[in-house]
Amino acid sequence: MAPGPSRRLLANGVKVVVQEFRASEVVAVQLWVRAGGRDESATELGLAHYLEHMLFKGTTTRPRGFVERDIESAGGRMNAGTSLDFTYYHVVVPGRRALDAIEMLTDIGVNSVLDAHELELEKKVVLEEMRLGEDSPRRHLARRLYERFFDGHPYGRPVLGTPEIVRGLTRETLMSFYRRHYVPESFTLVVVGPVNPTEVLEGAERTLGRLPRSRASRLPVPSPPEVVPARVELERPESQAYLSLGWPAPRADNAETPVVDLLAAILGQSRSARLIQALRERDPLVSSISAGYSAFEAAGVLSVTAQLEAVNLRRAEQGIVSEIRRMRSAGVTPEELRRAVTAAEARHSFSLETAEGRAFLYGRAETIWRLEEELAYLDRLRSVTAEQVRLAARRYLDPERYVRVAFVPRGR
């Protein structure tokens, strides 16, 4: 087994997490930034994501296209993702190029030129990304659920922004967001692979460690609003219907997250799970159904999502609610709990198979939560009792108060 990750706070506020992991020749190097969709004002939606695209468009020393060619010519990969709470840039390269990758990520992290011509060109690409999302019923369903669920809160906004705002984006707005948020205090560097941790730390000191402190502090995310039960129905071109129900759940740093993870697993994350057995197997009302729990820095969502024939929408919703009532009153069996814990253990073991799988877990935990908690997570999960799961069902799954979004085939 690999030794656990070590964590170091540099003098200027940059955090470094490094783990020596020799399962393959590949090192994962990730730069996590504490800036995401929720840091935008209502008039600058889509800025964090747009900036993520622009960081691939050239720095003061690397012309556009250089980074991709360089990484791919070593057989490596690079990409990035923007979420509500964070943005991250991830690279996998041969282990010997770990220090180059740290230098490159530092460069795009603070020296990107945000060229005005490139900025205009990339708007078209992001508009295509929006169209692609609209054409995917599942992605669009999640978007619509969050929009209603977090009505008026930054978590309810579209990470990609809106076409109008993106068309009007200027270099000044983008540059000001970049200067404000891409600062040492926002950065976490994560390196996992066949590396010498001391060399990685020295490499980080020479690059990210030399950036001046900004003394800027991130505005705290407001508390989410009380969820107002709502029913939304939209027509779509697909031939099948989609249904999503959402309930408020604990945020990432809450002590109850392992309990809610198990609750979601028992409800709908495996073939033997309750909703799958009740609505897909015993009474075939849906063609697929699952439960999910998403924990953000300031809020959480428990959701149930199904794909089904439109005629079954009403009965399927009743079926979900009646399974929830049953869970609230009778709780879960010891076998169900044991299976859910075993599944989580297995999932965890499999996610640790690759360097980037590990780096993602560490980076996310360090950015929106705490690394120590992530490392102790399985132990906390194993100590959860059936009674705790039942109480969590009573606390979080109100059978009368939830947000419901349905997509129905057009022209029904």
Binding site: A23, S24, E25, V26, F56, G65, E68, R69, E72, S73, A74, G75, G76, R77, V92, V93, P94, G95, R96, R97, L121, K123, K124, V125, V126, L127, E128, E129, R131, L132, E134, D135, S136, P137, P237, E238, S239, Q240, S270, R271, S272, Q277, E281, P284, S287, S288, Q307, E335, R338, R339, T342, A343, E345, A346, S349, F350, L352, E353, T354, R410
Partner: protein
């Protein structure tokens, strides 16, 4: 062939390109049971997990238009109960050991795959054997699965990319089985009977056509012993395995499919060589130059320079006969004509203009990196071992293929482009005007 042998894969000096050589020797043991079933084991002590891939030489390649999807349907029904256990008990048994159990069929092979914590590897092998050797085919379970597969077929038609790709395969392959997805078609799935599934089962579960591959924290001797106990009694039938029909001649086709959506899609396809063809590695390199990665021609020209698309690229699959080469782009309906012309221009440039040294090196490294990174997990490694063994290429195909990729020259790519990038099939998905 000796009944049991060990071969060492990918040893050599470390380079600065991922996948050009493995970081350390990877030992795979190969054993053939008395009834002809092959067992491949890769011992890997990196994580306390084990993954199994059991594959048979079957899949949509061996189907007819009337039986399209029968192999995948059969595989899904295998998970719906055995003579010992109902569907839900089977699922619970897998989950009790932290396991995932899944099955399906692709174009060239049918698979059962399973993963679990290593301490339960014996139980996992038993579960896979139970699913494969004693399926119950309960009529009500067959009907439930039929309904689910039909719904997957509809969801596939609802996805623009999948619908476009399916349209392209129909245009490219006409009456050949490569023309339909391994899920089958609505018409065939509505008609397939339980008897057809049972007949298919008897036909494809013959030990000389089965490969069991295991990767993870497990001893190969133990796997072989357990496999002998579980599968050794499976009788070897007479006769040959199935033979698919030949692929006919390529034609130039252009089709427009109307569908309401925010984006329009252009798919351009060609018939390429099969994976045993000497030109296959050059075709993979050609496809990577064209549309593999963010430094590929399509990405740079259509996305970075023209802003025509968010998703754009090219792909070619592992096929034993004629692997398609496809380029795709999703764009705003108003820019459809520009996008189509740009894709065709890049294809023509590649067909006639050759490739430069740096982009050749990038494309080769990109392919080697993709292969190496895809083979890091136990589940994928088990799949690779079983797949290439069962299709007849040999479990060491990936290593030979990687060496062949490294050896591809600019002339090889130019020759492959001139030979294979002819008779394009074009499928356009666009909203009604």
């Amino acid at each position: 062939m000796r009944p049991s042998s060990r071969f060492v894969l990918g040893a050599g000096a470390a380079l600065l390109v991922i996948g050009s050589v493995a970081a350390e020797a990877d030992v795979v043991s190969r054993h053939v049971l008395a009834n002809g079933m092959r067992v491949l084991v890769r011992e890997n002590h990196g994580a306390p997990v084990v993954a199994i891939s059991l594959q048979t030489r079957a899949g949509s390649h061996f189907e007819t238009a009337g039986t399209a999807g029968v192999t995948n349907f059969l595989q899904r029904v295998l998970l719906r109960g055995t003579t010992k256990r109902s569907a839900v008990r089977l699922a619970e048994a897998a989950e009790d050991i932290g396991g995932q159990l899944d099955a399906g069929a692709d174009v060239e092979s049918a698979h059962v795959r399973a993963e679990a914590l290593a301490r339960h590897s014996e139980a996992l092998l038993e579960l896979v054997a139970e699913v494969v050797l004693s399926p119950a085919f309960r009529p009500e379970e067959v009907e439930k699965e039929r309904r689910l597969v039909l719904s997957q077929i509809r969801a596939r038609a609802d996805s623009p990319f999948q619908a476009g790709l399916d349209g392209l395969l129909r245009a490219l392959y006409g009456p050949h089985p490569y023309a339909w997805p391994s899920l089958g078609t609505r018409a065939s799935l509505e008609r397939l009977t339980r008897e057809a599934l049972v007949a298919r089962y008897r036909e494809i579960y013959r030990p000389d056509g089965m490969v069991l591959a295991v990767s993870g924290e497990i001893e190969s001797k133990r796997v072989v012993k357990t496999a002998e106990r579980l599968f050794g009694k499976l009788a070897r039938p007479g006769g040959e395995g199935p033979t698919p029909p030949p692929v006919g001649e390529a034609r130039t086709v252009r089709r427009v499919l109307e569908r309401p959506a925010h984006q329009a899609h252009v798919m351009v396809g060609y018939r390429g060589p099969g994976l045993g063809d000497p030109a296959y590695p050059a075709v993979r390199v050609l496809t990577a130059v064209l549309g593999g990665g963010m430094a590929s021609r399509l990405f740079v020209e259509l996305r970075d320079k023209q802003g025509l698309a968010y998703s754009v690229g090219a792909l070619t699959p592992y096929r034993t006969e004629s692997a398609f080469i496809a380029a795709y782009v999703g764009t705003a309906p108003a820019r459809l004509a520009t996008a189509e012309a740009s894709v065709m221009r890049e294809l023509e440039r590649l067909r006639t203009g050759g490739v430069g040294e740096p982009e050749l090196a990038r494309a080769k490294a990109y392919l080697l990196g993709t292969l190496a990174m895809d083979r890091r997990t136990n589940a994928r490694r088990a799949w690779y071992l079983a797949f290439f063994e069962v299709v007849g290429a040999g479990a060491d195909f990936p290593e030979r293929y990687a060496r062949a990729i490294e050896a591809v020259t600019g002339e090889d790519v130019a020759a492959a482009a001139a030979r294979w990038l002819v008779h394009p099939s074009v499928v356009v998905l666009a909203p009604p005007r």
